[in-house]
């Protein structure tokens, strides 16, 4: 895909994510945000905290990659590395397979508050700014160290796409977890 169209597509997706959290999740009571759909499943806040933890690593890494060097001439066509394709394949929202989460990215059981929502929205704003500044860069430069093994590097473009698709994947999970349950009698 051509770079401008690629970035445009990601921007639209991020705006959509922002709007979903603002309109669908922020009005929900704490009890619903914290409810686990299954004992071993993640609540709304746990899903978003998982994404926040990724963002806390990848957004600064992307900022560094985009600012690090004088802007190279933008490449017309976005291309993928083997590792990039592999990573994207794992987080595609339509990939129904479950993955095991590395321990430090697994928020299950931590004490979480509504601030998780605010942080997620801030990350979306930062991500939009990154996508805007990526217009003048070559998206095929291989400069972003992979979170779980930093000797491996991803290309700028595929990392941006990875972050967005990963978020989309978990937002689907979030919306399932956020469905109001039927009333239950407490005595």
């Amino acid at each position: 895909m051509q770079s401008p169209a690629f970035l445009q597509q990601l921007q639209t997706a991020v705006r959509q994510l922002h709007a979903t959290v603002e309109t669908e999740l922020q009005p929900l009571p704490d009890a619903v945000l914290n409810r686990k759909p299954r004992p071993d499943g993640w609540s709304v806040l746990e899903c978003l905290e998982h994404l926040n933890r990724y963002a806390r690593y990848y957004l600064p890494a992307l900022t560094k990659a985009l600012n690090g060097r004088p802007a190279a001439a933008p490449a017309a066509e976005v291309r993928y590395s083997w590792l990039g394709r592999k990573s994207l394949d794992l987080v595609r929202p339509d990939n129904g397979r479950q993955h095991k989460t590395v321990k430090h990215m697994n928020p299950s059981g931590s004490q979480l508050h509504r601030a998780v929502l605010t942080e997620f929205l801030q990350h979306q704003a930062e991500l939009l700014a990154l996508l805007a500044s990526a217009r003048t860069t070559n998206l095929n430069r291989r400069t972003v160290p992979v979170e779980f093994f930093r000797l491996l590097k991803l290309r700028v473009g595929e990392t941006l796409e990875f972050v967005v698709r990963h978020q989309e994947r978990h937002l689907q999970q979030v919306l399932r977890a956020a469905q109001t349950a039927a009333p239950a009698l407490a005595v």
Binding site: P29, D30, A31, S110, Q111, T180, A184, L185, A186
Partner: protein, 185 residues
């Protein structure tokens, strides 16, 4: 919120939901610490919790024993008093600002006659409550605090996110110190 919750019951029709929403019409807001039901009071309403958190407790001279919690989308009342029309032995207190919708017992009973699906729903809720009570009885009969904790974590993991520790400790019949020593996650 109430209508959304009712919509999750697969057999309620749109007209039944409309009738329930119209009848469940007494809004109440409680500030943190306020009591919905006092000991000695007769419970004449059934409430739906739209927002907030409540604890149901049995007051004794030395402590207030937590017996249950209510949070959205719970329905709550002082059950023995509601059913038997006797004075409540329990108190129900808002632990945070809480918003409720109430229906009187008379209106609720009339609706149960009128709407067979509501009667079905009520019977299913009573069955779940009974199963919950049997589980809870086993909890309380287990002498090891860690087993009581483990059973609660399995049954209601969300409680640990919602309810302050000291109330969970009371509910599990252990001191807050024991609860934190057991290092619940």
């Amino acid at each position: 919120m109430f209508a959304d919750a009712l919509q999750q019951v697969p057999y309620f029709t749109a007209r039944e939901i409309e009738a329930l929403v119209a009848a469940w019409n007494k809004p109440i807001t409680l500030r943190r610490g306020e009591l919905l039901v006092q000991r000695g009071q007769v419970e004449r309403n059934l409430y739906f919790v739209r927002e907030g958190l409540m604890r149901i407790y049995y007051p004794t001279e030395t402590e207030e024993i937590c017996v249950g919690f209510a949070y959205p989308p719970s329905m709550v009342c002082s059950f023995p008093s509601f059913v038997q029309g006797t004075a409540s032995e329990y108190c129900i207190q808002a632990l945070r600002q809480t918003e409720l919708l109430g229906i009187s017992k008379a209106d609720f009973t009339a609706l149960l006659e009128l709407l067979p699906n509501l009667a079905r729903f009520w019977r299913e809720e009573l069955e779940k409550v009974l199963v919950g009570r049997i589980d809870r009885e086993i909890d309380l009969l287990l002498p090891e605090p860690e087993r009581r904790l483990e059973r609660l974590q399995r049954r209601s993991p969300h409680l640990f996110q919602l309810v302050p520790r000291k109330y969970i400790a009371s509910y599990l019949r252990m001191t807050p110190e024991t609860l934190s020593r057991l290092g619940h996650r």
